[in-house]
């Protein structure tokens, strides 16, 4: 026989305004095993909690039901109150008569009846509750940072400077990410590389940071505080302990390949580093394009390498790292080029994306920083088209957040270097950051032409003599209320920032969710924009949503500090309401492994049964519902408990 206490909350007038709470308590008094029932103004207040605690002791309660708000709100509060009164906190059950009842109903009589039903169901479940034990596990004192852009660099340095060991993984040859490709940064117009490269060097030299570039995270196992990570370090065919990064091999390599760093506008060699200031500076051989790998001849790099660092037998290496937390800073990509065709991209050589213009404008870029058309002449007019693919239901619904400002920056730089007329075709000018509006204001006075209207298309079909041989931007100028045609020589597309193409796969690997826009899903949009669905995995930078550099740095620092507070605490409490497999009933069909969104289920090959890792399990119940043998039990949500709840609702 259970001894159940029922506490019905008024929540001020939130509940009591619609539900007759006294009647709910009175009804509860008549149910089997209920030895005490009362209502109270605010159950979550100190006196409310004291009422629960005192009653547990006085009435010798062994189950507690609070009928109040959502368990997401105050379940931890009342569990704690139970524990303080010496009752196992999992012998507590909550009936949600606010969100599920008073807030969504108006009829007092019907709402009261529903509240009684919900409370009776909670009591029915409470009878069958079993005590559960929370566990704590130690936290590995090391953090993995995935991605070596400015977000990853910031997070890694913050943590390493605090004395924490950091492992950084970057898939390209060099760290630096997108920011390294940029020429100047808005609105201050300081040189991007000048502020970034010192930080890159710090990462490489930091005694607390282990850097794996040209590497990828292949597998993540374990759980918060105790992740086990497999990193694939791609074969680079250059001995890192021998290479002096002199660069002679690069100079001598006869094979030229489109440079990813230069967005295909420039060439690199088959043995290469991403850019001159690359960190690390030691090159790698691109096996796909290397002449020796392709047809067995050449080896010129080897001939010229004085220290003898070329190493043809190099192979991918799998590195195992144990870490307590993970910061995912995998950055962003740009809208698929196919989608840019209406604006002439891929059809006309002088239509380019923003990131391509960054390289053209850069002194180390393919044109040495000269703003010129493909045929080498300086443009007389340049159009910058905002919102290409952003704020567009045909492509991406969201605002990419940085385009307005870099468009202004481009306009300024073009005016600085050329005599060209610059047109900005925009929908709304979004200048929300510190110093941004001022920068916009400055540009308004620099003679840049602003046309309020999104460019519909770019064409080379001339309708007038002055359009002949030029690119024509067609747009509706909304301030004029008419369609205009503007002939120019160069078009820059502010194409949408998108998630990395492999974001869904990466999300699965790290146990993260995806937003509808396919960026990684944060734990809470306001209060935990750097957390994820998996405890111990944090987000930094534009992999969560488009961000400019200051926001990225702030986000990364927040992720780092949250990761640090987890790791430095040294222990972590793991979920008690987990799933467990009854090995006797399990037939080893493996269906549950695919069902688990947290990768918490493994298959014990020797015993041919599934096993749930209690540290990884969040108690979501998916495997419980999936198991065709009924061999998995959700602690705190057993079949018997849930069915008793349903029966009570229909009683």
């Amino acid at each position: 026989m259970a001894r159940i206490g029922v506490f019905v909350c008024h929540c001020g007038t939130n509940i009591a305004g619609v539900v007759d709470v006294a009647r709910v308590a009175e009804a509860a008094r008549g149910w089997p095993d209920v030895v005490f029932a009362t209502d109270y103004k605010f159950m979550c207040s100190d006196p409310g909690q004291a009422l629960v605690k005192d009653t547990i002791v006085r009435e010798n309660l062994d189950r507690v039901v609070v009928a109040a708000c959502s368990p997401r709100m105050h379940e931890p509060t009342f569990r704690k109150a139970c524990a303080m009164a010496g009752l196992n906190p999992f012998l507590f059950e909550m009936a949600n008569i606010r969100e599920h009842c008073s807030w969504v109903h108006e009829d007092r009589e019907e709402a009261t009846r529903k509240a009684i039903d919900l409370t009776r169901a909670a009591v029915a479940k409470a009878r069958l509750l079993e005590p559960l034990q929370s566990r704590t596990v130690p936290v590995t004192q090391k953090v993995l940072v995935v991605g070596g852009g400015v977000a990853g660099i910031q997070a890694a340095l913050d943590m390493a400077n605090a004395g924490l060991k950091v492992v950084m993984v970057e898939r390209r040859q060099s760290i630096g990410g997108r920011m390294a490709q940029l020429d100047k940064t808005f609105p201050t117009l300081d040189c991007s590389a000048c502020i970034l490269t010192p930080k890159m060097v710090q990462v490489a030299q930091h005694p607390n940071i282990t850097l794996h570039t040209y590497s990828e995270v292949e597998q993540v196992r374990g759980f918060v505080g105790n992740f086990s990570v497999t990193i694939r370090r791609k074969a680079r065919f250059v001995r890192e302990d021998v290479c002096t990064a002199c660069g002679v091999c690069i100079e001598k390599c006869p094979k030229k390949v489109d440079s990813e760093f230069e967005e295909g506008l420039g060439k690199r060699k088959a043995i290469y580093r991403d850019f001159p200031q690359a960190v690390p500076g030691r090159p790698v051989i691109d096996r796909e394009h290397c002449t020796y790998f392709q047809n067995g001849k050449c080896r010129i790099c080897e001939k010229f390498c004085e220290p003898g660092a070329i190493f043809w037998d190099d192979q991918d290496a799998l590195i195992e790292e144990q870490v307590g937390a993970i910061v995912v800073a995998t950055g962003y990509d740009l809208l698929e080029p196919d989608r840019l065709r209406p604006w002439g991209y891929g059809r006309y050589p002088d239509v380019m994306t923003g990131i391509e213009f960054e390289r053209i404008n850069n002194a180390t870029g393919p044109t040495g920083g000269r703003i010129v058309c493909k045929d080498g002449r300086e443009p007389q007019a340049v159009a910058i088209l905002h919102c290409i693919g952003s704020r567009d239901r045909n492509h991406r619904h969201y605002c990419s957040r940085v385009c307005c400002m870099y468009a202004l920056k481009f306009a300024h730089l073009i005016r600085e270097k050329t005599t060209a007329t610059v047109y900005n075709f925009y929908i709304d000018m979004r200048a929300f950051g510190k110093g941004y509006e001022e920068f916009y204001d400055r540009l308004l006075h620099e003679g840049v032409k602003f046309i309020r209207g999104k460019a519909a298309c770019v064409t080379d079909e001339a309708m007038t003599p002055e359009e002949q041989g030029r690119l024509v931007v067609v747009a509706e100028a909304t301030t004029l209320g008419e369609v205009i045609r503007v002939p120019v020589d160069m078009v820059i597309l502010a194409s949408a920032i998108t998630p990395q193409r492999d974001a869904p796969e990466v999300a699965r690997r790290f146990g993260m969710g995806l937003s509808p826009d396919q960026f990684f899903l944060e734990k809470h949009p306001k209060l935990e924009p750097f957390g994820t669905a998996t405890d111990g995995v944090f987000l930094a930078g534009a992999c969560q949503s488009p961000k400019d550099i200051p926001d990225t740095v702030a986000h990364a620092a927040a992720a780092a500090s949250t990761a640090m507070s987890l790791v430095f605490r040294g222990i972590v409490e793991v979920e008690a309401q987990t799933a467990e497999v009854d090995a006797e009933a399990c037939s080893g069909c493996k269906v549950c492994q695919d069902a688990c969104p947290y990768g918490a289920i493994s298959f014990l090959a020797d015993r041919k049964v599934a096993e749930v890792n209690g540290g990884l399990c969040k108690g979501c119940g998916t495997c419980v519902a999936t198991c065709p043998s009924g061999a998995i039990r959700g602690k705190g949500f057993t079949d018997a408990q849930v069915l008793s709840q349903i029966d009570a609702l229909f009683a």
């Binding site: 009933a585 037939s587 065709p628 069915l643």
Partner: protein
Amino acid sequence: MAEGKLQLAMYWAASCGGCDVAVLDVNEKILDIAAAADIRLWPIAMDFKYHDVEGWQDGEIDVCLFNGAVRNSEQAYLARLLRRKSRVMVAFGACASFGGIPGLANLHDRESIFQAVYGYTASTHNPEGTRPQTRLEVPEGTLTLPDFFDDVFALHQVVPVEYFVPGCPPTPKTIMTAIEAIVTGNLPPPGSVVGASTQSVCEECQREKSEKPVVAEYHRPQEVRVDPKRCLLEQGLTCMGSATRGGCGALCPAVNMPCRGCYGPMPRSLDMGADALAAMTTILEAADEETARNKTGRLADPLGTFYRFTLPVSMLRRAPKGPAVHS
């Protein structure tokens, strides 16, 4: 058991006869059964009349193996009668245990079944619209027919049942295990399944499973070339093995046919069809809801696949119609 030979009765109700044939399938072991038991009733093999059974004393029969579902009033009468005469009632085979294949008729009621059968099927010629009557007065006397129920019932939904022997039909091994348990009195608590496993068909199946089963699309067996080694479910066949009680030795998967689920639900199952559906849809590859909907929408005959043998005992119960058969 009582002294002397075991008093055994076997009866068939809404059944195809396969269960009775399966008893003969034990081959020469039938002699062991005959040596240990007096077979008092076995309509498929011996003639008998109702009054023979009605004349027995209550509890005179030690064990009654009852196969077939209960579909009409005659079967219900015999079920009740044999229940009274037998100390142990065994639901023998999938139909008696779960309703079986005849139970799929529970998608329809009597009226719609009669409309089809005596009305519009391709082979029906019934211009006068004659329907079977339960009673007809003719000069020679009164003719009667059993009453056709709205629903098909598993045996335990009509009379209390001590044991269940699953299978369509039960395999010889299952039958011998069950009969040995009965003869030796080495029986589990009433309500148990005897002669079968407590684990699923997968446990007995020799096919290879990958680490994480994922299915791109489900097919019917005739639509694909089956790899003889790999797990059938992973090959996109709607194999019920993972949701089905083992004990059959995974006979069907061994010959490239997906398990049909005839040994019924797993011991802790609440609803066998839901179990299988949950498992199969979980491993179905679908990036978004629409794809998932399309792919599941293409599943051939989902109800007949997932509830092939268990519709009458599933949670998918429509409001009961027709005469109450519980006495």
